[in-house]
């Protein structure tokens, strides 16, 4: 039977898809090239949609293919391509191994809830707030679960194996540093628990109730060309199909299938032994059995009120304060950032927070651990969207990985030479915190790391008459990479830090004067 094969095909594609996407998020060695990452994520609906309306680029047209598949065959995205959905299927698969498993049952749709969430999400998005979408987008949720929870576990595993191998004198594996962002990991854990609970008990209930992408695609799948229908004459109501339906959308009392909730998993087609189900072209007969539900206007209004409340909240950002670390001779002047630092390629904080879905792919991929999920630095509504932080490292001058892989267009690719002149923030020097000022000893760690020598060491006349040099910042050449801030040794407050640019600027190209070498290789040694 061809129909029963559809499930096998779905299984193969979905397992492949889940594996590849999971690997992208777990790849702590940056083995997978950026082009590969882009190709694998091409069909991810929300990132592709956002990217397309930002760049109108051909490599952001994946959502269009998803819609095409949807119009032809239903929610193929949900069954074969959505990593969170497939992940739910895996959990369901495991939980069905339980001896007491009785099978799924028909579920009433939660229409008010699902359409309210969808409307609210869309309305917020159109008013420039991606918060709800970021929280609910299945791809981004999946990304956060894998990036914030599973990736550290994989790294710890790697490190343990590496340590064992080192004892044997083998250094092919190496230990990897990892950072946990507690708030982001907490959100990811909450979503994970919700997903596990819902999918273990009720299959794809999350996809058909909470997920705005599922609800949106469900609206269209009502009119898809090919739909699964019950053959009224042949169906003997054996309920085999109902028991395997993860979506709970097969109602045998009325012998109807709620195609808005059908995720096109084709389990039922395989289960039915009497040709009681058909996957057929409904456009031929020229009528649709279900009319699109009317959207409740009340929830629309409610959405607007909630939306404006959240909007108000979102614009009151909190400033970041450096963590306190106790040390013998402490610095005294605290650092209060006016702006967080948005990653290179984001062009402006405004563009970034309206386009980023907080999938944390860049957080996973950043080799220097510079990107970390934000808390309130972008405002409440920018929560979880990555910001630059120089605690663990600085933005590597020649590195463009985050921009190369961003699937949503929040970080737009920049040529290396352009990136090297893109000023995401500016270094600020606090002399009173500087070792040279407080201790009258040389330091210069900041200037060492500066790739453009925007931070330069200049003579510092002092009471002790030591030969000292002290940093001087030339903001025109600074790109805000954070090399200086990361290297600065003072505690608890750094003597040099990067203040974010709300709108990224272009730094001046470092001036280069020729040195006349005049080397005479026959000349004697100077000693």
């Amino acid at each position: 039977m061809i129909l029963s094969r559809l499930k096998q095909i779905r299984l193969v594609i979905s397992v492949l898809c889940l594996t590849l996407i999971a690997l992208i998020f777990l790849d702590f060695t940056n083995i997978i090239p950026s082009s590969g990452v882009k190709a694998i994520l091409y069909l991810q609906f929300v990132p592709s949609l956002l990217n397309f309306f930002t760049t109108f680029a051909y490599d952001a047209t994946g959502f269009f293919i998803v819609i095409l598949l949807l119009v032809l065959f239903g929610r193929i995205y949900c069954s074969c391509l959505c990593p969170l959905g497939i992940f739910e299927d895996v959990i369901g698969f495991v939980s069905r191994k339980n001896k007491n498993w009785r099978g799924y049952k028909y579920l009433q749709p939660h229409n008010i809830l699902r359409y309210s969430i969808l409307i609210l999400t869309v309305m917020l998005l159109f008013s420039g707030i991606g918060f709800l979408l970021n929280l609910l987008d299945p791809f981004s949720s999946f990304g956060r679960i894998f990036s914030d929870l599973f990736r550290p576990v994989v790294i710890i595993g790697n490190n343990l194996i590496a340590i064992v191998l080192e004892q044997l004198g083998i250094h092919t594996l190496y230990r990897v540093r990892w950072v946990v962002a507690p708030i982001s990991a907490g959100v990811a854990m909450a979503v994970l628990l919700l997903i596990v609970w819902l999918s273990a008990k009720h299959g794809r209930l999350y996809c058909n109730t909470i997920c705005p992408v599922g609800t949106l695609l469900g609206l269209i799948s009502k009119i898809s060309m090919f739909q699964i229908r019950i053959n009224q004459n042949k169906c003997k109501e054996c309920k085999r199909c109902e028991r395997v339906c993860k979506s709970g959308c097969i109602d045998l009392n009325t012998k109807t299938i709620d195609s808005s909730r059908c995720v096109a998993c084709f389990n039922c087609l395989e289960a039915c032994q009497r040709d009681g189900l058909q996957f057929k072209n409904i456009w031929k007969r020229g009528h649709f059995e279900n009319k699109a539900e009317k959207v409740v206007s009340q929830s629309q209004r409610r959405g607007l009120i909630i939306g404006s409340l959240i909007w108000l909240f979102g614009n009151t950002g909190f400033s970041e304060q450096t963590k306190k670390i106790v040390q013998s001779k402490q610095t005294t002047i605290p650092i209060l950032l006016k702006n967080p630092i948005s990653p290179p390629g984001s062009h402006s904080i405004e563009h970034f927070i309206s386009t980023c879905t907080a999938c944390h792919l860049c957080v996973s991929a950043c080799p220097s651990n510079v990107l970390e999920p934000s808390f309130l630095e972008y405002g409440l509504l920018g929560m979880l969207q990555p910001k630059m932080s120089f605690n663990e490292g600085h933005c590597n001058y020649e590195c463009t990985i985050c921009m190369d892989i961003c699937p949503s267009g929040a970080l737009l690719p920049l040529e290396v030479e352009i990136k090297k002149r893109t000023q995401i923030g500016v270094a600020k020097f606090i002399k009173q915190n500087c070792v040279v000022y407080t201790d009258k000893t040389n330091c210069g760690a900041c200037s060492e790391h500066c790739p453009t020598k925007a931070v330069n060491m200049v003579p510092y006349p002092n009471s002790k008459n030591n030969r000292l040099v002290i940093p001087e910042v030339n903001p025109d050449y600074c790109i805000g990479c954070g090399g200086c801030e990361h290297a600065c040794p003072t505690k608890p407050y750094k003597a040099i830090y990067v203040e974010g640019n709300a709108v990224h600027k272009r730094a001046l190209k470092p001036e280069v004067e020729k040195i006349d070498p005049k080397i005479d290789y026959d000349e004697d040694f100077p000693f």
Partner: protein, 306 residues
């Protein structure tokens, strides 16, 4: 260095030093046929490719066998601090690193490891410096220095400001340690040469910067003397160091300095760069701490021009 070696060397040193005063040009004549014993304190080479200069230098010091124990583990520590290509001269020249490894293996070393605690992202530094590939091709082992787990706390008994540090286990484990810095301008240490290069075997560099950088550099040099210090001065970054802004910062000096005395190597390299060694505070302090010879007049130097 044990007592006997020390006595032997100081006697040799004083003889050569004395003779070089009397026969100022004679010592250079002696240099023509490479000597088989380690009677030179320092070898300076000029005018060749990095690996050829090293071949000559090590031959005149009696070959690598004098420094590498049979079946021993060797650590070669170049400067791989920056994500920069070899012509930028931010890192030790890969050809020099490779040739040193080859000499070690030929001299009977069991294994030769290479690492650095880099400033830029370590994998990019290893790759773009060309050192990772050079080490692998030469038969050495390139190892990460990027995790605190690799570093063990040690106390530095002779340190004045730096009394303890977390040090990479390979540095502690190695039977022989070959220090391979590159000579560069340095924004805070003025110059980075041999002693400054040792900063790459410790985990917490910030402590050094925080607590009188120059003193800490000298303090750590008292912890373990390298078997050899090989200063790469093939391409020399004359300004904007230690990272450099462009190739325009670099001058092709085509020189190399090799010595068992890290302070002497630094002093000679400083002179080569155009500084008085005494003006570089950590070299001055190291000399005062009797970690080596700052006064090059007291040394027997083999000067080789290729």
């Amino acid at each position: 260095m044990n007592r006997r070696e020390f006595l032997k060397k100081s006697v040799q040193g004083s003889i050569v030093a004395g003779s070089s005063v009397v026969f100022s040009d004679f010592s250079r004549l002696l240099a023509a046929p490479p000597k088989s014993s380690t009677s030179y304190d320092l070898v300076a080479v000029k005018g060749g490719e990095p690996e050829i200069m090293f071949d000559n230098a090590i031959a005149s010091l009696g070959g690598m066998k004098a420094f590498v124990p049979q079946g021993g583990k060797v650590l070669v520590k170049p400067n791989i601090g920056w994500d920069a290509t070899p012509e930028r001269a931010g890192n030790t020249h890969p050809k020099l690193v490779a040739r040193i490894i080859e000499h070690c293996l030929r001299a009977g070393a069991k294994e030769v490891s290479v690492f650095d605690h880099t400033c830029d992202h370590w994998k990019r530094c290893y790759k773009n410096s060309g050192i990772e590939r050079a080490v692998q091709n030469a038969g050495g082992k390139i190892v990460s220095g990027d995790s605190e787990g690799y570093y063990q706390s040690v106390s530095i008994p002779n340190g004045k400001r730096l009394t303890e540090a977390k040090v990479h286990e390979l540095f502690l484990d190695a039977d022989a340690f070959i220090n391979v810095p590159i000579l560069k301008h340095h924004s805070s240490a003025m110059l980075t040469i041999g002693m400054k290069n040792l900063m790459g075997v410790v985990w917490d560099r910030r402590t050094w910067h925080r607590n009188d950088l120059h003193q800490c550099i000298a303090d750590f040099a008292s912890y373990r003397k390298p078997s050899l210090t090989v200063v790469d001065a093939y391409n020399v970054m004359k300004r904007n160091g230690p990272r450099g802004v462009s190739v325009e910062d670099v001058v092709p000096m085509k020189s190399q300095i090799v010595s068992t005395d890290i302070v002497a190597a630094d002093a000679a390299a400083a002179k080569l760069f155009g500084h008085e060694p005494g003006d570089i505070r950590h070299i001055q302090i190291a000399s005062q701490m009797k970690l080596g010879q700052i006064d090059l007049k007291n040394l027997s130097i083999n000067r080789i021009k290729l």
